[in-house]
């Protein structure tokens, strides 16, 4: 990166950091309370990362920007919670997993295969269509009410560090467990991409469909694998989020926020999805709690997007994304 661009980016982060600590400087907020908010923000950031991961996977491997990822999260959560009314959790989980693989297979057969080598915008629109379809299907089959998902996550918050800080810091155990699950999933996926031959094949496919085909990579099977893995990620995200918020339609809107996360981190980067999620979760929480009252609340509706927008002005390819060099 050129020196001026690097300076601008550093200045941007410095500004963000300053904004983050400003409640303590200007509003007299004490450190323990601030830390609570920060931890809470980071936790919800991890949840965003989880959804963003599915997006990055599909983009890395098929070059498709999967707008339906949020719908997949909702679909998986809905299926799970309704099946759990009839069968034990483990069985329901396995069934939904099979369902997501079947969905991946159908998507590949009916949507991706006929549209291979079309431009990116066409594929993006197709995923938009898939999102609408999944929404309708999910509600049609499983109903449109709000459902409580109980997977045995501990609901009581814990107080930690009560010897360091007076009164301690309130932390949600559920969030911590979610963070650990997400962390494990991310590590597994990163290893998968870097170390295995399938992972390499996926990266080849992301670069150039035709070229990958011409060296014998089975495009169709690869896509089914990728969308299945994305489906798995969606399922995990659905479980974690559904357990925290209840399974309802608005889950999808929250999943929409994974888009600015991916933007911030760079479309093709798994660590980018993580860092982007953390940044957005943190920034959103801090601004909602400390900036919100000044502006009338509701900041979290747009903060993530505006942050991504401003960041892109400095680095159009995101934090860890690949720089686009225009060649003629």
């Amino acid at each position: 990166m050129s020196a001026p661009a690097r300076n601008l980016t550093l200045a941007f982060f410095a500004l963000l950091a300053f904004g983050a600590v400003s409640p303590m400087l200007f509003q007299g907020v004490r450190f323990p309370q601030w830390l609570e908010i920060v931890i809470g923000g980071l936790m919800s950031g991890v949840l965003y990362s989880l959804v963003a991961l599915g997006l990055v996977l599909i983009f890395k491997a098929s070059g498709v920007f999967n707008f339906a990822q949020g719908a997949m999260v909702l679909f998986a959560a809905l299926a799970l919670v309704r099946l759990m009314a009839h069968v034990p959790f483990a069985v329901a989980l396995a069934l939904v997993l099979v369902l997501m693989v079947a969905l991946a297979w159908l998507v590949e057969r009916l949507v991706l295969r006929p549209l291979v080598n079309q431009e990116g915008i066409v594929l993006f629109m197709a995923t938009l269509g898939i999102a609408y379809f999944l929404n309708g299907l999910g509600q049609f089959v499983w109903g449109a009410d709000v459902y409580t998902l109980d997977v045995g996550m501990p609901k009581e918050p814990k107080i930690i560090l009560d010897r360091v800080f007076e009164g301690g810091i309130l932390v949600s155990t559920e969030d911590v467990i979610a963070a650990i699950i997400a962390g494990l999933l991310v590590a597994a996926l990163a290893l998968f991409f870097q170390r295995t031959s399938t992972g390499r094949a996926l990266r080849a496919v992301a670069d150039d469909h035709q070229a990958a085909q011409s060296i014998g990579i089975p495009l169709n099977r690869i896509w089914v694998i990728v969308w299945s893995v994305a489906g798995l990620v969606a399922l995990v995200a659905g479980v974690v989020w559904g357990s925290k918020l209840g399974v309802q339609f608005s889950l999808q809107l929250i999943a929409l926020k994974a888009l600015p996360v991916v933007i911030l981190g760079g479309f093709t980067s798994i660590p980018g999805a993580i860092v982007g999620g953390l940044l957005i979760g943190l920034g959103e929480k801090l601004s909602e709690v400390y900036l919100g009252p000044l502006l009338g609340g509701g900041i979290e509706n747009w903060f993530a997007y505006v942050l991504a927008l401003v960041f892109l002005l400095f680095r159009p390819e995101g934090l860890f994304g690949e720089k686009i060099i225009d060649r003629v």
Binding site: I121, V122, M125, Y132, F140, A144
Partner: protein, 354 residues
């Protein structure tokens, strides 16, 4: 046999470059317009005006604006609903705070407000491209959503967040009936469509399409990306803003922020894709499709004798909607306008197959 060009010679560049060089096209278009202006107001039912014709025309205008941005200039935007809202709220504030303003002036000024906002949110497009840009336009959408629901000034401090447009009148003549509203909208949309067609045929249209197809090469031949992209955002937002003002004033009568939410943005994008990117006619075809589809789906179950609850119908609607989008993208990614063009080509050769 019918649609033959033989015998029609153009002897000057001016006549070759006219809007409808083929005589049959001219006859068709003029006939159609005459029908729309003179016959329809007397024969169509109130329901037809209210539920189909008026919304179709207004949404066509918005789709036209979006098509200029996405189809002609290649800048993907998911914030169209927000720009419609700017037009609507600007028109509301102008009409309420300066009651003496002529209705057309209100619409034009509202459009200009949308142009300013659109150009502002268009500046990032100089650095940001493709899907990245799409997501940043969502920033515009959600921010504008928030702005109009939280900042009381825009809604004249209405407690519920919803506003009601003042009664319409033009040059002293009140516009109340559905037929009158239809004629008002039809006039405005016809003029705007012509202007859009001229723009896309001219130098600025070529700069848009060049930027869309190969922006580096465009720059090399002297087309400034700044000019092309900002004019695209500006013109597009103007159209969308005027459409938003008309949507609120003429169609809805009163509205709340939800009328222009992100679903509206997606709806308009679907119209443009299904109708045909980079085609004026396509914007109209796509809007017609999206307006008629829910009505058709609503009527179909009862027509077939299958009783379904409204909830089920709306769920099925979503499924059919999504399915149709995928179907269209597979069958004809260039949309209904392309199907229309293929039909015309076949008609030229008829009765010969090729």
């Amino acid at each position: 046999m019918i649609y033959r060009e033989t015998g029609q010679f153009r002897t000057s560049y001016a006549s070759d470059q006219q809007l409808f060089p083929i005589l049959q096209d001219r006859v068709l278009v003029i006939g159609f317009l005459a029908f729309a202006f003179v016959v329809v107001p007397f024969v169509a039912s109130d329901y037809l005006f209210r539920a189909i014709l008026t919304p179709f025309l207004i949404l066509s205008l918005a789709a036209l604006g979006l098509n200029i941005l996405v189809g002609y200039c290649g800048q993907l935007s998911l914030g169209t609903g927000g720009f419609m809202a700017v037009g609507a709220y600007a028109a509301y504030n102008l009409a309420v705070r300066i009651p003496s303003l002529n209705l057309i002036v209100v619409f034009v000024l509202a459009g200009l407000c949308a142009t300013l906002v659109g150009a502002l949110f268009g500046i990032p497009s100089l650095r940001i491209k493709g899907f990245y840009l799409a997501v940043t336009t969502l920033a515009a959408q959600f921010f504008l959503d928030w702005l109009f629901s939280r900042v009381g000034w825009f809604t004249n401090d209405s407690s519920s967040g919803s506003v009601a447009a003042p009664p319409l009148e033009l040059f002293g003549h009140p516009i109340q009936g559905p037929a009158e509203k239809y004629l008002l909208v039809l006039s405005i949309v016809s003029v705007f469509a012509l202007l859009a067609k001229n723009l896309t045929r001219g130098a600025v249209g070529r700069s848009w399409m060049a930027t869309r197809d190969m922006d580096v090469a465009a720059e090399v031949i002297g087309i400034r990306p700044l000019y092309a992209k900002l004019t695209a955002f500006a013109v597009s937002s103007f159209y969308v803003g005027v459409a938003g003002a008309m949507w609120g004033f003429v169609y809805l009568g009163g509205w709340e922020p939800l009328a222009f939410d992100v679903n509206r943005s997606f709806e308009l994008l679907f119209m443009v894709i299904i109708g045909g990117l980079g085609s004026i006619l396509g914007s109209f075809l796509g809007a017609a499709f999206i307006v008629i589809l829910p009505i058709a789906l609503n009527r179909l179950p009862s027509a077939l004798g299958v009783p379904l609850s409204t909830a089920t119908v709306s769920e099925l609607e979503l499924m059919v909607f999504g399915g149709l989008i995928v179907f269209f993208l597979i069958a004809e990614p260039r949309g209904l306008a392309r199907l229309w063009a293929i039909g015309k080509e076949k008609l030229r050769l008829w009765p010969f197959p090729h």
